[in-house]
């Protein structure tokens, strides 16, 4: 039975996959140890960058959010970028369900309407005042990192639990934004209701 599999997987494909796995493993490790090309970025933000990328896999946007089947998924970071080059490095060579990923650093929440995922750092939350509703309507997955973020209408919020990055999800908010959040994701999250 192994042999069959062997014949199916060409050495080239096998090597490519291994390379990919190694790379991904590296990313995962980034969450545990402060190793990486950019020591300026903390381990916490390395993990969060990886989580941002992973969120795109478990969330389904309405078809209307994409001009066509190959349009990229746009990840926007509002205000100061805490990830350095980390996020760009993660998404550079990856695709999610056939779509490329793009990172945009934006200064105003108004620019976020075209993005699919918007990360708002704890220090930049002020920029969102009064903008939550339009973003929800635009179908943007909002991700924050402050205790008030869910309450202010955000969908996913990072928390720290004995140095381990966890996340809260407000499924209702997601639903209102027209997003389908996978049960797999919900399974891992702390479900929060406003």
């Amino acid at each position: 039975m192994f042999s069959r599999t062997h014949t199916l997987s060409s050495p080239a494909g096998y090597n490519a996959r291994r390379l990919l796995l190694a790379f991904f493993a590296l990313l995962c490790l980034a969450g545990h140890a402060a190793i990486g090309a950019t020591p300026a970025v903390s381990k916490e933000y390395q993990v969060k960058a990886a989580f941002l990328y992973n969120f795109t896999k478990f969330v389904e946007w309405p078809a209307s959010r994409f001009p066509d089947d190959t349009s990229p998924i746009v990840i926007a970071v509002l205000g100061r970028n805490p990830f350095g080059d980390e996020l760009a490095a993660i998404i550079r060579t990856r695709k999610v369900n056939g779509r490329e990923l793009v990172v945009k650093i934006i200064a105003s929440a108004d620019e976020a309407a075209t993005a699919h995922l918007l990360f708002v750092g704890a220090d930049e939350e002020t920029l969102l005042v009064g903008k939550m509703e339009p973003l929800q309507k635009a179908g943007v997955l909002t991700v924050g990192e402050s205790p008030r973020f869910i309450a202010s209408g955000g969908i996913i919020n990072f928390t720290l639990e004995t140095d381990k990055v966890r996340f809260q999800i407000n499924p209702l908010a997601g639903q209102q934004a027209g997003l389908k959040i996978s049960a797999q994701l919900l399974k891992l999250a702390m479900i929060v209701r406003k």
């Binding site: 599999t5 062997h6 096998y14 796995l21 995962c28 478990f58 369900n97 797999q184 399974k187």
Partner: protein, 667 residues
């Protein structure tokens, strides 16, 4: 198979049926079980694979977000599938991420991560599957299932197959035991009948057939065979009787013919002696008893050569017999030979012996036919003596004839001698020599005045002239006499030659020698040379060839001498001046042809045949000797003598044809 060959047909048929159905059933069960096994394994793999995919899907988020507890929780759900012994999730790095064990093991030993695939070991099925999320491989799941269910199934199937096999064998045995009788009963019946035929030699029994299948045909064939054997048996019996009768008949005939042969052998004029291959006498007829003086009782068993042959011929006879036996009969033996036989009383007698070998049972017996030829030998010797006598007589007669011829020649020469002698006598008688006497008397008277007398006397004056004349006359006389004397001497020498030649021929009479034909002719001419010269007969020689012949020289010479002489006479009688004798030699393939031709009186046609008759002659002085004996001699020499003439006055030609003998080459 060997064991099967000697089993009774009944047992054989049962065994075959059971073996066949057993093998068929076994193969069917084996095929079915194998198929079941393969299908079950595929199903099992497929199920396990589905489970792996499900687990993979359910643990993808846990892997993505590094939540091992969640993954372990997901794995715990495998508890619903009791056959799964253990499971494990590896992260993308190949490190163990979450595990599951059905029964907790103190030291779980997780295998290294492997690519997709399954493997069947003795007691478990192991499977690896990659976990994919959104087109990306994020980890691997490992599952191990025990094969308890598979083994349980195996045991169940084996049990069912065993039971079915046993049941089928039992049923087969029952059916075969019933059905084999269809075949075995008739065969056994046939075997029983065949056994009866063999033991009782009763060919009249017949087998009763029960069906029209091959066995039925075997019955028919068997019955046919029996019928044929029966018929043949009867025929054989009849033939045997006939044969016995014929043998008896032949034996009777044979003994009759044997009696006849015995009678023939006993009354035969030859001694008939039979011996075995070693030469021991085995049969002895009555004539043998008469010839050799031995009775059969005495002689049977003795050796042929030692008992019946003279010691001088024994070795040769034994040698020939030995050679014959050595050649195994290929060499000829039954030649008729003459030898000396030995009588019982010890005397030897000439005998003629013929031996016929007869091959009997690989060896030979010999039949000897022997005849006493003492009488015929004596008669032969007598005949030879008489023959010799006759030969002598005839030779003497021949010599007489030759002598007559010689005397004839000598007579001729003597004529010349006579003439010469007469001439000399006349000459002497008419000699002027007495005048010498008268003249000397006259001179004696006038011896006183001889000179005056010779000068003045008229008579005396003519004396010198007369003396001159006388001298001439006397010289002439002397020369004439000398010539005649010379001729006389020559003729006498000739006679001597003739006599010497006759003597030489007489001595060599009957001797065959090789001579040159021209020499022979020259001899013949020389014998007649005197008379030929006297009668001015010219001789022309036309020797076209100079052959050599082998013959009795004196006979040929005798013929030629006669021919030359006859030719001379013929020329003489014609009275012509140009007398010519022509001798020619020609030859063809087999013969030498000598012709003696003259231009004399010739022979009238009516005489051409008569001239060869004894005593015929055309000459007054002839004495009958000549052409007759010549023709005879020519015949004796193997040739011929013929005459030809165009008639009186045209001369005659005699042709003598003589054969070469085989060894004489054509020159």
């Amino acid at each position: 198979m060997r064991i099967l060959t000697n089993l009774p047909i009944k047992r054989k048929l049962t065994v075959i049926s059971m073996l066949t159905s057993g093998v068929v059933l076994f193969l069917t069960c084996a095929a079915f079980m194998t198929y079941e096994q393969v299908v079950f394994r595929r199903d099992m793999t497929s199920n396990l694979s589905t489970t792996a995919e499900m687990i993979g899907f359910n643990s993808s988020s846990a892997l993505s977000f590094n939540d091992a507890a969640s993954a372990a929780q997901t794995l715990k759900g495998l508890g619903a599938q009791p056959h799964i012994e253990e499971a494990c999730i590896y992260d993308g790095d190949g490190k163990v991420f979450a595990t599951y064990q059905r029964t907790a093991n103190a030291r779980p030993d997780w295998p290294r991560m492997r690519p997709d695939g399954e493997r069947l070991t003795a007691d478990s099925l192991v499977l690896f599957r990659q976990i994919h999320l959104a087109g990306e491989a994020i980890g691997t799941i490992y599952l191990r299932s025990n094969l308890r269910e598979m083994h349980t199934r195996w045991q169940r199937y084996a049990l069912i197959a065993g039971v079915v096999l046993l049941a089928a064998m039992a049923i087969t045995w029952l059916i075969a035991a019933k059905l084999q009788r269809i075949i075995s009963d008739p065969v056994m019946e046939l075997a029983a009948i065949a056994g009866r035929v063999a033991s009782e030699r009763d060919y009249s029994v017949r087998a009763v057939k029960q069906g029209d299948d091959e066995v039925g045909r075997l019955f028919d064939g068997f019955n046919d065979m029996l019928a044929q054997i029966q018929a043949r048996d009867a025929e054989l019996h009849a033939a045997h009787k006939d044969l016995e009768r014929r043998v008896e008949e032949r034996t009777r005939e044979l003994s009759a013919s044997k009696d006849r042969i015995r009678l023939i052998v006993d009354t035969a004029f030859d001694a008939i002696i039979t011996t075995d291959a070693e030469g021991r006498i085995t049969a002895w007829n009555r004539q043998a008893e008469t010839t050799f003086g031995w009775t059969p009782a005495e002689v049977l068993g003795r050796t042929f050569a030692e008992t019946l042959l003279a010691p001088s011929g024994r070795a040769a006879s034994l040698q020939r017999m030995h050679q014959f036996l050595q050649s195994d009969g290929r060499e000829s033996l039954n030649r008729r030979i003459e030898l000396f036989a030995l009588h019982k009383d010890g005397h030897e007698f000439p005998a003629e012996l013929a031996v016929s070998p007869v091959r009997v049972d690989g060896t030979f017996i010999f039949s000897a036919f022997l005849r006493d030829i003492t009488e015929s030998k004596r008669a032969e010797a007598e005949l030879r003596a008489i023959h010799r006598q006759l030969l002598d007589t005839s030779r003497q007669a021949g010599m007489a004839e030759v002598a007559t011829g010689v005397l004839h020649n000598v007579g001729n020469v003597l004529n010349s001698v006579n003439v010469s002698a007469t001439l000399v006598a006349d000459q002497v008688r008419r000699s002027k020599s007495p005048n010498v006497g008268k003249l000397s008397d006259l001179l004696h008277q006038h011896r006183a005045n001889l000179g005056d007398y010779l000068a003045n006397d008229p008579k005396g004056k003519i004396i010198p002239a007369y003396l001159m004349t006388l001298k001439d006359e006397l010289a002439k006389e002397q020369s004439t006499i000398l010539a005649e004397l010379d001729s006389l001497h020559k003729n006498i020498g000739h006679i001597k030659d003739i006599v010497a030649m006759q003597q030489s021929y007489a001595k060599t009479s009957g001797v065959v020698e090789t001579v040159s034909v021209p020499d022979l002719i020259e001899d013949a001419l020389r014998m007649n040379a005197g008379s030929l010269a006297r009668h001015d007969v010219d001789i022309a020689r036309e020797y076209h060839v100079r052959p050599v012949v082998t013959l009795e020289k004196n006979k040929a010479l005798q013929i030629l001498v006669n021919l030359v002489r006859n030719a001379k006479y013929a020329c003489d009688e014609s009275g012509r001046i140009d007398k010519l004798l022509t001798v020619s030699i020609t030859a063809d393939d087999r013969n030498v042809i000598i012709t003696v031709a003259d231009n004399g009186v010739g022979i009238p046609p009516e005489n051409l045949t008569k001239i060869f008759a004894h005593g015929f002659t055309t000459r007054k002085q002839g004495h009958g000797f000549g052409l007759h004996s010549g023709a005879l001699a020519a015949k004796e020499l193997g040739g011929s003598l013929t005459a030809h003439s165009d008639g009186p006055g045209y001369g005659a030609t005699f042709t003598l044809t003589l054969p070469y003998t085989s060894e004489s080459p054509h020159e």
